[in-house]
Point group: none
Chain length 208, copies 4
């Protein structure tokens, strides 16, 4: 299935000037990605939009995909920031609070740059970065797992890690779909409510 070239930055931008350049390029990539999608995101176009020579692009990025990957990483860093910030208060929360927090966090994360988020979700799989995309959750999953573990007694959860995995996959699945098919819902109270219900019910559980 081909694809799998080095994607790591070619050269660390050391001086200030370069760092700004890299920043410019990544931002341009984002814009182009938003406007033209992955196919239309050509290196020349990126360079042009960035107002930078094509050579400069290749000075810092070994190839086209490296650009996209970098955009993805930046976005994920932001997501992660939002998530961890929200989840910091999870520790001593009650079930209801915890769930509200989690849902709120995930919704907020999806509100950061919804269009970009959607483009990345749709296009990034093609460059084999789907796993990387999924692993964006791995950073805060432990927080959730820890909470579950702490409340194990009160909840019929056999394996906290698995429960976390299923939960996040489910919620993320729903949100991903919302982003693509029902972008308006992101701001709807009802969506949050349903997700909360989904989670609470699953955790309180009713063995089948």
């Amino acid at each position: 299935m081909a694809r799998q070239r080095p994607v790591s930055p070619r050269k660390e931008p050391s001086q200030r000037r370069s760092r700004e350049l890299v920043d410019l390029i990544v931002k341009a990539t984002t814009r182009v990605l938003l406007k033209h999608g992955y196919e239309g995101c050509t290196t020349n176009r990126v360079a042009e939009v960035a107002g930078v020579s094509i050579g400069s692009v290749y000075q810092y990025f070994p190839n086209k995909d490296a650009l996209v990957v970098r955009v993805m990483e930046r976005h994920q860093e932001k997501l992660l920031g939002v998530m961890t910030e929200h989840l910091a208060s999870l520790k001593d929360a009650s079930l209801e609070e915890a769930v509200k927090t989690l849902v709120h966090a995930m919704l907020d994360a999806h509100r950061i740059e919804p269009k970009l988020h959607r483009v990345l979700r749709e296009q990034v799989p093609r460059i084999g970065a789907l796993k990387a995309l999924h692993e964006q959750h791995s950073a805060y999953e432990p927080l959730v797992t820890a909470w579950l573990d702490a409340h194990r007694e009160a909840l019929p959860v056999a394996d906290p890690a698995v429960a976390t995995w299923v939960l996040i996959a489910a919620v993320d699945g729903v949100l991903g779909r919302v982003l693509v098919d029902r972008p308006g819902w992101l701001e709807q109270q009802q969506l949050a409510r349903e997700l909360e219900r989904l989670i609470v019910a699953y955790l309180r559980g009713a063995r089948t």
Copy 2:
């Protein structure tokens, strides 16, 4: 975002020979898609694999994407077949039975051609106006909604359509993820159990 071309078959293959030709081409596209991914799925390659002239391909398909779309449609027809078959018995089922049926149906659907399924999910960019196509669920959602509607009294479900949507999005989200990150789980009992728990709990609900 560019992309927006006709995608429907150029001409209905009326004679038998033509129909066989189309079939040949679609099968070839599938094979190429599996082996080389979307990027590597070039029209010339497809023609070659099909043992057919490139001109003939363009006789029946207006452009490259039409090929891929046809492959998706075929796959979805199969999915739909499996789903509706399973869901036919839904009508008078109890909650537990209904849920078991649904989960079983979705799992079975994902077992049809998992590799192709994954390639289509991962590799195929959202092609043009084809969002609808990606809503592979829309075809059987009504069946689930109908069942929910019929059992409305017994279940704290405000809006059956929304509940169906959320449910399917959640389960499909989990399964999509399983396909990519935990392919082995597809055959694991535990996965089915967790999904059933998720659904039952959500439907029996526990208002937050």
Copy 3:
């Protein structure tokens, strides 16, 4: 040292039309090679000079070097033609006649397209085809060796094959140099005479 890509034709030109196309391309390559050297022999330039689309070039040649190699092969076919024609009469020749024939043959071969010959000699090594270039002699070496073997008694030649090799390498070395540094000599009587002397002396030999 990189370099070593497939160089064999991509597709056999089957129809008349195609054969003419390939011919056109090879001729254009020759012209470009003569005018701009190997570096300046770009595929686009070749296509342009041939009055053909760049795509057509790549239809029949997998890459740039394949073009050059084909030019080389054509040239060698001509050389070989001239050589074997001359050497046909070698069989029963006396030493003096045989040597005259050989020298005459090699000189004639170098007169075919001296400029092209020179360019190929200078540039072709770079694409790793130097051995191929040398092997151009292997086609008629046996003829010379056979003659030597037949006259073994009369000549102090220990190993006819080695003697042939040395002889041809020497003469070819001289001619190659003439081509580059003293192109005018090619028409000079004296050059032929010196080469004949070189050979005759070597074969008649005088053990050191």
Copy 4:
């Protein structure tokens, strides 16, 4: 044939430090040439290998080819050293001694850095106006010519300069070929013997 740029050092390295820098760069060029061939010998790579800024390279060399030329010059200086050293004793030598000396000298010269020698011969295109450089022999040819001239009486040599030229071209042709096609022979006694026979015979000559 394009190509025609200044190739002489941009500025004489006056201070010690500069001389060391130039040395570093030339050595790096040699290494890169050996490892990657002429095509792969990029200025940036050279700078990197030399552990020197690309700017510094251009401080002392006006362009890429100047680098390669310098490498060639260095190599030829060494060759020349070996040759003249050997040929110093030529003066009063007998024919047999003289020939032995010459052959020995040329063989030794080819043993200096055979790989570099081969790369330079094979890979380096005739750079611009540098034919002269390729006439690596011109430096010691006079020595041989002088000897021939001194022994004119005893030898049937019409024009010593021409004889020298032919002789050296022939021997060098054989050696060049050996380098590429039969590298092992370089150490074989037989090669030396054959070359000696070739030369002695040619000089003692037998008018045809």
